[in-house]
Amino acid sequence: MIQDFVFGSIAAIAIAFAYATILPGIERKIHARIQNRYGPPVTTPGLWNILKFFSKANVKSNSPSPRLYYLFILIGLLEVPFIVLFTNPLWWGVLGFGSVFAIMGLLKVEEVDYLFIGSFSKSMMSLGMPFPDLVKGSKPSESRRYFEEISVTRALKMITLGSFPVYLALFVPFALAGSVAISDVVAMQNPAYRETGVPGSQDVWALISAIRPFAFTLPGIICAFVYFIGYGILSNTRPFDIIKPKIDVMEGPMLEYAAFWRGIYYTFTGLLSFTLSSLFITIFIGIPMSIGQPVFLASHLLLIPVIPMLFAIVRAFSPVFTFKQIYPVSAAASALAFIALALSLVRF
């Protein structure tokens, strides 16, 4: 039993990492095709690019505490696989980890991570000249702000307001199931999941057709839409990449990650993309990444690229949003999520 647990957990993480290596490539390929380009090979951005960074000589960060600065991205990389694990049936019975609170908590940690990363970064790029500006008519220097500090205030705004609707949308299926447990949400949509011991031995089509995804109900459609927006917000991708737009604060908190640490950062972003997509399929479609059940595992993995691919299309046609656009989007998404919550509570 314990062997199954350990093997299944390792397999889930291995699948997540393996899949994460091709997701950035798929997104880039879609971008490229929209823009009449060929784009890079699918494995280049997520795999070979990262391996290239791992092989480069590191440039020491200008952070007052470089080790702590590096540690935070490592925390990000290590905590994201736990979201994959907690949504995996193997972990549902372990200390209540398979609950909405555990998932939301880990997602919040991921968001707050950017605050710490930004607070510990002081890049050379955002420094002014280290000597008085003698240009005629030049304005006197006052207190300066590092790009990362600007990113931190932006990240704080995103945590407090930007990502609020995502959590609200994530909460709705649990409200409908009347439970905080992921197992109950999955059971609500996928009754065959509990009843069958080894679904692989049964008719595949019967198993799939028995699923009644929450995403196909009216509140589910609304929540899925809000979660889709939230995918962009949580993964800091355009148009919601205000914490790191190239045109002003560049890479924002991650500006000083170079070589090995940049590789770690890209691994983290690829993994986050996989995780958010996996979370959607488990909570909103009712198909968990069950290692021991090939039908559901295959279905889950087949559906993984859908959200990243759809969002790649959105990203290709979007400019960077400033808070002038983010606040209304967040407010509208929150309103939608509240409507979905109300609809689900009255069992619409």
């Binding site: 300066r144 205030t153 932006r154 737009p245 400019p319 960077v320 949003f321």
Partner: protein, 383 residues
Amino acid sequence: MRVEVPIGTVHPALIEPFRTRLWIEDETVVDCEITYNAAHRGIERILEGVPVLKAAMIAEKVCGLCSHFHLWNSIRATEKAMGVVPTERAQYIRVLVAELERIHSHMFFIGHACEVLGHETFVYRAFELREPVMRILFELSGNRVHYAVPVLGGIRPRANPSDESLAKIRAYVKDFEPKLEAFIERFMSDPLVMSRVTGTGVLKKADAEELYAVGPTARASGVNNDVRQQMPEYKPFDYNIILLGAGDNKARVALRCLEVKESLRIISQALDNLPQGPVLSDVKLNFDTGFSEAYIEAPRGELYHVLRVDAKGKVRNYRIRTPTPTNLASMERACIGDHLTDAVLTIASCDPCLSCSSRALVVDAKTGKEKVFDYASGVGCRK
């Protein structure tokens, strides 16, 4: 709290080396200062004392985007000084190349503005539209960047278009117009893009006049400032001066889109009415001239060249003023009150070309005094 955000001189958003100091409260820009001359190339110093025909070729290298305008204006200043009159066919071909270059410069601008917006797809769309212009210019001149078309008294004979070249340009214009229309329609109706550019970076007409804004930056604020109206070369052509009143980022982008359409009109007229005859006039070189000035409407605005030719036929006191220094104050004013991210877009929407603007700064190292050139009297000029 008011804090300073220094952007540049090295920054990925800046395709050229300049420094923008933005003072922000929360993330709203309350003050701005733009400093350039970080990449001084000393072109005016290089031009000092070179033969007059060579000087024009060096002047062309000031800019890669508006090289024809620099060369043409240099030639115009020299022709004015020496009393040389170019042939009519050459004048038409100069205008033709100028308007083709205006199209490629404006499309480059639109692509860059979209890049600053963060909209990658529009960047590629704009550059796709620009590419055929580059090919036409290559077809005409044999070069994609520095075409070297005008020479004293006319144009270089190799740039005299054959019937085949003219047919290609006609086909290009015919093909380009609907594509441009579709691009403008798509761009101006995109709600996400419009939400970023509408109402940001506003430069009021009064401010544009007060700060002597030039080119599309001024015209987007409703200031009728287009040197083409005073240029005799443009007299035969029927075209509109586009004026928009909003003065925001949207207006500056839209104005360039509309100007491209006017450029296409001028190109069509030049092709239809291209006079026959020689492309070079008989040039009699007159040396020892006085100061000769020339103004031209480059894609970014008013471009000014002044020079004199000494008794040996060498250029003296060559000075160039590109549109960007004139527009710097407008950029600084326009981005105040905007979000930090929008402020960078506002500066980009004024289309600065700062490497071209880096001129000689003459300061006496011992006394710290600046030397002022007086072209009229020649004070401060090397004899």
